[in-house]
Amino acid sequence: MTDHLDATDRAVINALQGGFPVSERPFAEAAAPLGLTEQQLIDRIADLRARGVLTRFGPLFKPEALGGEAVLCAMTVPADRFDAVAEQVNAWPEVAHNYARDHTLNMWFVVAADSPRRCREVCAEISELTGLTVLPMPKLHEFHLDLRLTA
């Protein structure tokens, strides 16, 4: 998991967490200020993806704008069932992320579906299958969403 990122890797990551152009030759446009050629930037992004430094390259869609919904859910899972329950929960295609966290509520996952109704159904199905209480914590308000990590 220790990754060597060279100065170009870092420059690409820091510059391109947004603002990738919508144009005929967007890589050429984005490459110029970084002192790279179009093909060098394409190769660099491909390499960072292949190494797992980037999880994705492309547009980030806002689920609510698509008529869908993403709901954060929390559960308290007994330690001796944790891995089995994780496997059960992850089997739903609507479960987009799932994290173990060090708290009594030790499993936190995001249910994303095309409709709020489907989100509620998935929460109910997970609760029924696991026999555990699912606490749905929908966003009531979003103050900020602008993740920019410095590499």
Partner: protein
Amino acid sequence: MSTPCLLDATDRALIEATQAGLPLVPDPYGAIAADLGLAAEDVRARMSRMQAAGVIRRIGVVPNHYRLGYRANGMTVWDVDDARVMALGEAVGALPFVSHCYLRPRFPEVWPYNLFAMVHGHDRAEAEAQAAEIRALLGEACRAGEILYSTKILKKTGLRLGRAPAAGQGG
């Protein structure tokens, strides 16, 4: 803010075609257009429109926090006075190290926290210093708080949305 009805079937096809990523070729929008049987200008116009409408938050690289050395990814949670949480949430969200900041419901007896702010440190000391800064900003409007660190990623596939419900399946 946009509404779902702004999106037509072609927009949805475009969302499906691009949500896993853009092709790494010199003209990625042209490549998508060719795949979908659309004109390249049409694809670019639709992408720009969806971006302006907020359907697309941004276009670019999405790094894996852990691989950049951010090993202490903390969900800080706070029980903040309802009368002040909207103004204070804006201030917390504007802190440079806070990546996401949300108001969420409390669950009496189980979960007293209504304000969530994600922080990212190279180690727990850095994340804790960030949490302390949030705590100081919230002041006496904050009754309690905690940091929940993620100890393991159990699943991370990203969102897969945009497929229009099949006709006749009902709401």
